[in-house]
């Protein structure tokens, strides 16, 4: 791409030459994830999660297509069709549990991917577009996951759909009509289930499309790295293949081990017992909780309990919940520090770890009933969340004095291996 020393694609076989002239897909792959893409040589294991997220999406698409061959999107039979998959379809239990836990694995790696970006400043120039597209992917994932959870038509499916579409009824004037339009009725029903199934099948392919844009945008400046210093010359980089394909292969193995342990040994650990009860519009489960990956946002929603100004508490909660994600779009401009990596940002690093703890706290609070001390903890957690991005980050990026930085990636690598600068090359 933009690196002059990138290895050029030179097809040798006549067939590959022919292909290159007609439809240069091999060239595209070579330059995107092959030897033709130079990558900083110092990436750590946190750079595995992008590829793993892609793998998780592929697992979801493949298992999902298979499940759709047996699932029936009709309120009368949806629940039983899922049980039919679990009991009668050949290997159906495996495919369904893989899809169910694959969603969780997808979110786990994407959250790690996002926090890696936050820690190492991957959202900053020249990679703002990569970040923006990433936030779009995250939003699409949340929509897809939510609609997927409705499909088994259990109690949590139904009441999840009821509560989430209820957010829209908080909008003044048009809220209720918008909600009815989303549901195609007054409560989640057959129309809702059918449209959710249709969109749940569609959106993953939209995600796939945005991922291609995400990677495209990434390849223009090239990958960030743990020092946050841009690549200067050839010795700062290694070709993606074989170096990072090998590393990603190992990462994929570890990812699959966790995935397999979850799917085969404890497939319902992250689910809810209530979703094994068929949907019943006349009886609400005692304790409605969203899937774990929504819990921090759910806690923010519940934290607003006061009608402030002319906006009531419910609308505050809904606005704040959407804002908590939407503010990520502005992050590249909220943080004005030219230094990317937290390694050289002593002050920001502290707040980063407070944010990690804060999101975990919010997640824990999201799971709890609306009782003290969980209410006040989620209120404090939400205060920090907004303060972190909208108040602390802009100030820190002004007042912070970064630590001395190496001149190049190569210098950082050499310094790591030879703390005593006088000694020669360290044995690798």
């Amino acid at each position: 791409m933009s690196f002059p020393w990138a290895k050029p694609y030179e097809p040798k076989h006549p067939l590959m030459k022919w292909m290159d002239e007609k439809l240069p897909i091999p060239r595209l792959v070579y330059n995107a994830t092959g030897p033709g893409y130079p990558v900083p040589r110092n990436l750590n294991y946190f750079w595995n999660f992008g590829v793993l997220a892609g793998a998780a999406l592929m697992i979801q698409i493949i298992t999902g297509i298979v499940l759709a061959m047996h699932y029936a999107a009709n309120t009368g039979v949806a629940f039983n069709s899922v049980e039919h998959i679990m009991r009668d379809v050949n290997a159906g239990w495996f495919i369904r549990y893989a899809h169910m836990n694959g969603a969780s694995m997808f979110f786990i790696v994407v959250y790690l991917h996002i926090f890696r970006g936050l820690y190492y400043g991957s959202y900053k120039a020249p990679r703002e577009m990569v970040w923006l597209l990433g936030v779009v992917i995250f939003l699409l994932m949340m929509a897809t996951a939510f609609m997927g959870y409705v499909l088994p038509w259990g109690q949590m499916s139904f009441w999840g759909a009821q509560v989430i579409t209820g957010f829209f009824s908080a909008i003044p004037l048009v809220g209720e009509p918008v909600r009815q339009w989303l549901l195609g009725g007054f409560v989640p029903d057959n129309a809702t289930l059918n449209r959710f199934f249709s969109l749940h099948y569609l959106l993953p392919f939209v995600i796939l499309g945005v991922i291609i844009l995400h990677i495209w945008a990434l390849h223009i400046p090239g990958s960030n790295n743990p020092t946050g210093i841009e690549v200067k010359d050839e010795q700062d980089t290694v070709p993606f293949h074989p170096y990072y394909t090998a590393k990603d292969g190992f990462g994929l193995g570890v990812f699959l081990l966790v995935f397999v342990a979850l799917t085969f040994f404890s497939p319902n650990m992250l689910g809810h017992a209530d979703n094994y009860i068929p949907a019943n519009s006349l009886s609400t489960p005692a304790h409605i909780v969203p899937e774990w990956y929504f819990l921090p946002f759910y806690a923010i929603l519940k934290a607003f309990t006061f009608n402030f100004l002319w906006i009531d508490a419910k609308l505050w909660g809904v606005i704040a919940m959407f804002a908590s994600i939407a503010l990520l779009f502005f992050l590249p401009w909220l943080d004005s520090s030219p230094v990317k990596s937290s390694t050289y940002r002593p002050l920001y690093r502290i707040f980063f770890w407070v944010l990690v703890a804060d999101v975990l706290l919010l997640g824990w609070c999201g799971m709890q009933p609306a009782e003290q001390p969980w209410v006040i903890l989620s209120q404090l957690g939400a205060i920090y969340y907004f303060a972190h991005f909208l108040v602390i980050l802009p100030i820190v990026s002004r007042i912070e004095r970064p630590l001395p930085m190496p001149n190049s990636i190569t210098e950082a690598v050499l310094a790591k291996h030879a703390p005593d600068a006088a000694s020669g090359p360290a044995a690798a």
């Binding site: 009991r87 342990a261 085969f264 040994f265 006061f306 003290q372 939400a382 205060i383 907004f386």
Partner: protein, 269 residues
């Protein structure tokens, strides 16, 4: 522009939250019922853990308890007679067992509603024709379908076992408003403390063919084991396949690690 605007928006949210903190009472409404609800007691079954197997004798006893006791009120819609071959019955035994049930059908000559002998492909017939009938016969409480019950309740098998063995007289200090009303029965393992189902099991209620003594505890364990099977007939297979996949992946991961080290051996990073 982004930063000043963001600052104002942030201040708005923070103000709303600070006001919310000061207007939310810090003390919870006391909930007396909580203090009487008991945590489910653990029951150990052969299908537990990472090396599970089906105790077929126990599953057969459990099915007998279901058939002779539970099935009077509770359906088992998702289980077909053919499935009980998993419990160690032969194809012939399954056929005979299925024949012992009458399943809903249509008279081929008149088209009227009728019943016929069960076939292995039929599912366990439900005790009531519909929810209205179930509600009417049970003091307005529909007995839930039991097929998935051990997966559909918080606490799973432990909860089912505890509930079946947990009936007792209400404690003396139970507030009057928590005392069981007419048609309700006190059980501290039930989240609402009082449930419509009367104590279903009594010592010696069934006679086991294998000579096991039919105590309440034994029957509760057996039927719980059976309901773990009905909820997930593929459970044992799932864990067994899981180990094979896990070890395969473990070897792959080690090889992938060595390969990664090998490829990077010449690159300082």
């Amino acid at each position: 522009m982004v930063r000043p605007l963001g600052f104002l928006v942030g201040l708005g949210f923070i103000t709303a939250l600070v006001l919310a903190i000061f207007t939310t009472p810090l003390k919870n409404e006391p909930n007396v019922a909580y203090s009487f609800v008991k945590h489910p007691r653990h029951v150990k079954l052969a299908s537990d853990g990472l090396v599970p197997h089906w105790d077929k004798a126990q599953l057969q006893r459990g099915m007998q308890v279901y058939k002779e006791v539970c099935s009077a009120c509770h359906s088992l819609n998702l289980v077909a007679f053919r499935n009980i071959q998993d419990l160690g019955y032969t194809e012939g035994q399954v056929k005979t067992f299925a024949k012992g049930f009458q399943v809903p059908s249509v008279n081929p000559d008149t088209g009227e509603v009728a019943t016929r002998d069960g076939l292995p492909s039929d599912h366990f017939p439900a005790p009531y024709a519909n929810d209205v009938a179930a509600r009417a016969a049970n003091n307005n409480a529909i007995p839930p379908d039991l097929s998935l019950i051990t997966k559909a309740r918080e606490g799973g098998k432990d909860y089912i076992y505890s509930l079946l063995t947990g009936y007792q007289n209400p404690p003396a200090n139970l507030p009057a408003e928590l005392k069981p009303g007419t048609g309700l029965h006190y059980n501290p393992y039930f989240p609402n403390l009082n449930l419509a189902m009367a104590k279903p099991l009594a010592d010696g209620q069934v006679t086991y063919a294998d000579g096991t003594k039919a105590s309440v505890d034994q029957m509760a364990k057996d039927v719980t084991a059976f309901l773990v099977w009905t909820a997930e007939p593929k459970l044992v297979k799932r864990v067994q396949v899981g180990w094979a996949v896990f070890f395969f992946l473990l070897i792959f991961t080690v090889l992938a690690y060595l390969s990664y080290r090998n490829i990077w051996a010449d690159k300082m990073h």
